[in-house]
Assembly symmetry: C2
Homo-oligomer: 340 residues x 2
DNA sequence: TTGTACGCGTTATCAG
DNA sequence: CTGATAACGCGTACAA
């Protein structure tokens, strides 16, 4: 056996015209049952596989969706991918996957690669460095359907799926206050990120409602590097005026905090309480177990894919409206925020 | 702007023949520098993007590699993916990614989807349910280059990348013995998996060398379901004749053990020591911190991609020889295997 | 140095 | 119901 047979060869074998065979395989109504059967059985016998590129060329679609995420080693994004894949496969779509590693330059390269319609549509969450979005606008202008999730681009008029960032951060902060925290810090990646803004707002409003002033040094901007983040957080924890509570806007910063705490004489939750946005399944196994705000990652992925496929299947009736769809997160209280 | 311009249209704009434009863009030696410049600048001006499907159809290659992994929410596989992606992107290759969720039926479907040469090659790690490999043999017979990593198929004559499973398991077991364990259990997924077999051999040989008998009930076969695994392990830990040491052949079973221990009165490492194959970055943050055998995941991914691309680029000189390439793991001792 | 013609494997249109 | 033909966009042999 070697490299597969073409429609034409299959037709020759059957002594039929290629067009007839094509129609038979596509179950066209204008082909008799008898020939359909003959064609199908021969196709199976010879293990005929249609060439996807010829088809894509002809139909101007690839049955492929591109997914761009900031990082792969991240439970949230991995779960979202699982959700997208589940729905995509149900509808015969394939997934091209790209990770930007939180690097805008990488993101731009990837996006530029996708301009040629290699994928029928794009699902993405922008990198933490992304503030100028002209590369994404370009995509949009090329008529490539695009959906954002989690870290969205409000400038681009399409559908976005997020969790209730504001409320969750608000509730998380309120929880810290109820547990007795007086000085609460907020850990963020880039301040330009949509999720940062919303979660920060929730944090500030919760403080305000409790009559607390947000300490400027308590808004900590972190970066991609775990080492640097641990350094930054350690400094904050060792400072004269250190926080006694932390709301971490992403999982990795909570883990960095755990590492930092090990470098101090502090202990969680006695000296410092912490809650974080995170989808880590082993949050409950950490020392101490970590209170989390768990995002509906799988659902977000599924919904993204469902909407996109609806749009791809029936483009007329389904525009990607400029709207934000919110799916709520779930607070799970564990030891890291226990009152003494 | 709408949907991109074709080579023909670009040629018309330039008042040149399509073939000339094609050659200019591909930097052919038979085109004058002057026209090359004109063509390139116009191509940029009109944002010309070659149609990848026309190209794939013509050249019979897609510049795409398919990657099949058993699960996405797994630090090892995520890191391997990162390694593959890094090298693939350097060479202009795209990645189609599929997860089997440890399900052979899913694996078969995916593999069948790839028969049509949608991808130029495949990198994969088989599901834990995979014992019959006829679906993979079929791929191989189709002349689709395929490379295995970690969970390999010895029946298929191609290159495989693994870690030193036998030695690592041997060393891990020996470490447990040195720390005072007398009754060591081995946790595995399916016993048919290549990694299970090798790691089990290492475990058995270490026991033997220490003059210990392998207790039959201490070889625990687990499954995909975390709940069931926790149940199984809990039973083992509560049994009359319980182990005092555990070598876990995969990360998830170690985490399941941590959950199980919480359901008993035992404590790690006093009553039970445990070491596991794992690439979890937060192993050091668990309670207690978890001793691990860390696989060179990134390197494995990079090497797979390098070899595959060499093969795809210069097929004549690079056959995928039937060999196993071993890249060693690293033992990291933490609290979970401390002697009392 | 540039242009013409063809084929890659499909599917849709038009004829019969 | 089936067959012939054209077209999708590109690259290459062959011609000029």
């Amino acid at each position: 056996m070697s490299n597969g047979i073409s429609l034409k060869e299959l037709a020759a074998e059957l002594k039929l015209a290629p067009s007839t065979v094509s129609r038979a395989l596509n179950d066209s109504y204008e082909i008799s049952e008898a020939t359909k059967k003959k064609v199908i059985s021969m196709a199976e016998k010879l293990n005929y596989q249609p060439n996807p590129f010829a088809r894509s060329l002809r139909e101007n679609k690839s049955k492929t969706i591109a997914v761009i995420i900031p990082e792969r080693i991240n439970n949230f994004f991995a779960q979202v991918m699982d959700g997208i894949e589940e729905i995509a496969h149900e509808h015969g779509y394939h997934l091209l996957v790209y990770s930007t590693h939180e690097d805008v330059e990488k993101e731009k390269k990837i996006v530029s690669l996708l301009q040629n319609k290699r994928a029928d549509a794009i699902v993405m969450s922008v990198s933490s460095q992304t503030s100028d979005v002209s590369h994404l606008v370009k995509l949009y202008q090329r008529d490539l359907p695009i959906i954002f999730f989690d870290r969205v681009c409000s400038d681009i008029p399409t559908t976005k799926f997020i969790t209730n960032d504001y409320e969750s951060a608000y509730e998380g902060t309120k929880h810290l206050i109820q547990q007795g925290c007086q000085k609460i810090a907020f850990l963020m990646l880039a301040k330009e990120l949509s999720i940062t803004k919303e979660r920060y707002r929730g944090y500030l409003d919760a403080l305000k409602e409790a009559g607390m002033q947000p300490e400027p040094t308590f808004s900590l901007h972190c970066c991609r590097s775990d080492e640097e983040n641990i350094q930054l957080i350690t400094e904050l924890l060792k400072s004269e005026n250190r926080p006694d509570g932390i709301l971490s806007s992403v999982e990795k910063l909570a883990l960095a905090t755990y590492h930092s705490v090990k470098k101090t004489k502090l202990s969680i939750p006695d000296d410092l309480k912490i809650i974080t946005f995170s989808n880590m399944s082993s949050a409950g196994l950490l020392s101490p177990s970590l209170s989390t705000i768990t995002q509906p990652a799988l659902t977000i992925g599924q919904e993204c894919a469902k909407l996109l496929i609806k749009k791809l299947t029936k483009p007329r009736h389904n525009e990607l409206k400029d709207q934000v769809i919110v799916i709520p997160s779930k607070l799970t209280i564990r030891e890291s925020t226990m009152a003494r």
